[in-house]
C-alpha cells in the first residue's frame, strides 16, 4: 500500500471518528449547545502536510459521513470540506508550522472560511438552515473552541509518520 493511500485512509478514518464524537460525546462539553469542529482541525492539518489531493478526497468522504448523520442535504458538508481541503492543500510546503501560533491562525481562518462557504450555499441553494446568521454567537464560540484545541491536535497528529509532508507525485 502506497504512503499516499495510507495517509488518505488514516486521515479519513480520523476525521470520520471526529464526526461521530462530535455527534455524541462532545455534546456533553458543549457551550450553549455549540461543539468544536475537530474534523475541520484534522482536515487543515492533513491539507497543509499532504496537499490538495489527499485533503480534498478525505474532506469529501468524511463530509458525506457528516451529511448522513445530519439533517443537512446530502452533499452540503461534503462540498464545504472538499473546498477547505483543496484550498488549504495549495499551501503545502510553503507554511512553517510552529507549535502554537500557526495552528491557531490556520484554524481561525478555516472556521471563518467554512462559515462563509456554508452561508453562501444556504443562500444560493435555499437550504433550510442557519444562513448568514451563523456569523453570530455560535460561530464565535465554535471558533474559540477550535482555537484552543488546535495546538493540542496538531501536536498529536504530528506523531503519525504517515502524515509527514508528502512526496510530489500525488499533488
Amino acid at each position: 500500500m502506497s504512503r499516499d493511500l495510507k495517509a488518505f485512509l488514516l486521515s479519513t478514518g480520523m476525521i470520520a471518528l471526529a464526526v461521530v464524537l462530535q455527534s455524541t460525546l462532545l455534546h456533553w462539553v458543549a457551550i450553549r449547545g455549540v461543539i468544536p469542529d475537530l474534523g475541520l482541525i484534522i482536515l487543515v492539518f492533513v491539507a497543509i502536510r499532504r496537499g490538495s489531493m489527499t485533503a480534498q478526497l478525505s474532506g469529501f468522504a468524511t463530509g458525506v459521513v457528516e451529511d448522513f448523520l445530519s439533517l443537512s442535504p446530502l452533499g452540503f458538508h461534503a462540498f464545504i470540506r472538499t473546498v477547505v481541503g483543496f484550498v488549504y492543500g495549495l499551501t503545502v510546503g510553503s507554511i512553517f508550522v510552529d507549535p502554537i501560533l500557526m495552528p491557531v491562525l490556520l484554524t481561525i481562518a478555516a472556521t471563518l472560511f467554512k462559515a462563509l462557504i456554508s452561508s453562501l450555499l444556504v443562500s444560493f441553494l435555499a437550504i433550510p438552515a442557519e444562513g448568514f446568521s451563523v456569523f453570530t454567537g455560535p460561530l464565535w464560540i465554535e471558533m474559540g473552541y477550535n482555537t484552543v484545541l488546535a495546538p493540542f491536535l496538531f501536536a498529536l497528529l504530528g506523531l503519525f509518520k504517515v502524515l509527514k509532508p508528502q512526496n510530489k507525485e500525488w499533488m
Binding site: Q56, P73, L74, G75, G137
Partner: protein
C-alpha cells in the same frame, strides 16, 4: 481528441476537485429534507451504528464514575422520598376524588375524552455533528414501528412538552427535527386566551421559539408565562401538547398580528428520553 487525457494528467488535482464539487452540487440539488433520497437513509442507518457504539462506551464510563457519588446521594434521597411518599398518599386520595368529579363533569358536558395514543419510548443517542443543523437521533427505527412524521414529546418539570417530529427513519435509529429548528412549524394555541398562531424555531442558534400570526386584539389578553399548546390543526401534532411559555411580546404598528417569543417547555440540552406518539394506534 488526444488533448483531453494529457490535460487531465497535467491537472489531476484541479480535475478531481471540480468533479467532486459537481457531484456535491448534484447531490444537494436532488436531496432535501422533504424528499430524502434512499442513499441518505441507508447511510444514516449504517453510520448510526458507530454513534450507538460510542454512546454506549461513553455511558459505561460515566455510569462507573458517577455510581459511587450516586450511592451517597441516593441515601439522602431515600429519606426525602419516604417523607414525600406520605405526602403523595394524601395527594393520591385527593386525586382519585378529583378524577371522579372530572369524569362526571366531562360526561355532563358531553366532551369527548382525550385520546390516549400509544407511545414508543426512545433514548437520545446523538445530535447533529455540526452547529448549523439541529438533529436529534434516537435509538428507535423502522423495526420498532417508527414512521416519518410521528410527533415526539418528552416529560420535563412535570409537564409533557413537544420535542419535534420524526423526519428520517433508519432501521434501528431515527432522526428527529426539533421544534427549535428554523424550518419547523407547529400550529399552536394560547392555552388560556385561546388565540391561534404558528410556532416556528428562531434563527441564531438560540433554543427559543417564535409564535406569529396571533391576532392583534390578543395584546390585552395574553399574559407573560401563559402556556402555548398545539392546536391540532394541520393534523401533524395532536391537540393539547405543551409547547412553551410566552416570554416576550412584540406588537408592531404596521403589522396586523402579534409576534410572541416562546420559551420551550423542553430543555433540549438536558434531553435524554423521549416518547414518540403513534397517532394511528389508540
Amino acid at each position: 481528441m488526444p488533448g483531453i487525457p494529457s490535460f487531465v494528467r497535467k491537472n489531476k488535482n484541479g480535475v478531481t476537485f471540480t468533479a467532486i464539487l459537481l457531484l456535491c452540487l448534484l447531490l444537494m440539488l436532488f436531496s432535501n429534507r422533504n424528499l430524502v433520497l434512499q442513499p441518505k437513509k441507508v447511510g444514516q442507518s449504517f453510520f448510526s451504528v458507530f454513534q450507538l457504539s460510542v454512546h454506549a462506551v461513553g455511558n459505561w464510563f460515566t455510569n462507573t464514575v458517577t455510581s459511587i457519588r450516586e450511592l451517597k446521594r441516593l441515601r439522602s434521597e431515600l429519606e426525602e422520598a419516604r417523607d414525600r411518599l406520605m405526602e403523595y398518599e394524601r395527594v393520591s386520595r385527593d386525586l382519585a376524588e378529583l378524577r371522579r368529579e372530572n369524569r362526571e363533569l366531562r360526561d355532563q358536558l358531553g366532551f369527548a375524552r382525550g385520546l390516549p395514543f400509544r407511545y414508543i419510548a426512545a433514548q437520545v443517542i446523538a445530535r447533529d455533528p455540526s452547529n448549523q443543523f439541529s438533529t436529534i437521533t434516537v435509538n428507535r427505527g423502522s423495526i420498532h414501528g417508527m414512521r416519518e412524521g410521528m410527533p415526539v414529546i418528552a416529560f420535563q418539570g412535570g409537564l409533557q412538552g413537544l420535542v419535534g417530529r420524526v423526519v428520517l427513519v433508519g432501521l434501528s435509529s431515527s432522526m428527529v427535527q426539533p421544534i427549535t429548528d428554523p424550518n419547523s412549524y407547529v400550529a399552536a394555541r394560547l392555552q388560556s386566551s385561546r388565540f391561534d398562531g404558528l410556532v416556528a424555531g428562531s434563527q441564531g442558534g438560540a433554543d427559543l421559539l417564535t409564535m406569529s400570526y396571533v391576532k392583534k386584539l390578543a395584546v390585552n389578553e395574553v399574559q407573560y408565562g401563559e402556556l402555548v399548546i398545539t392546536s391540532g390543526m394541520g393534523q401533524l401534532f395532536p391537540e393539547g401538547i405543551h409547547i412553551g411559555r410566552v416570554r416576550e411580546m412584540t406588537a408592531k404598528g404596521y403589522e396586523a398580528s402579534l409576534e410572541l417569543e416562546v420559551q420551550p417547555i423542553v430543555d433540549f440540552s438536558r434531553l435524554e428520553f423521549v416518547y414518540i406518539i403513534d397517532t394511528e394506534k389508540r
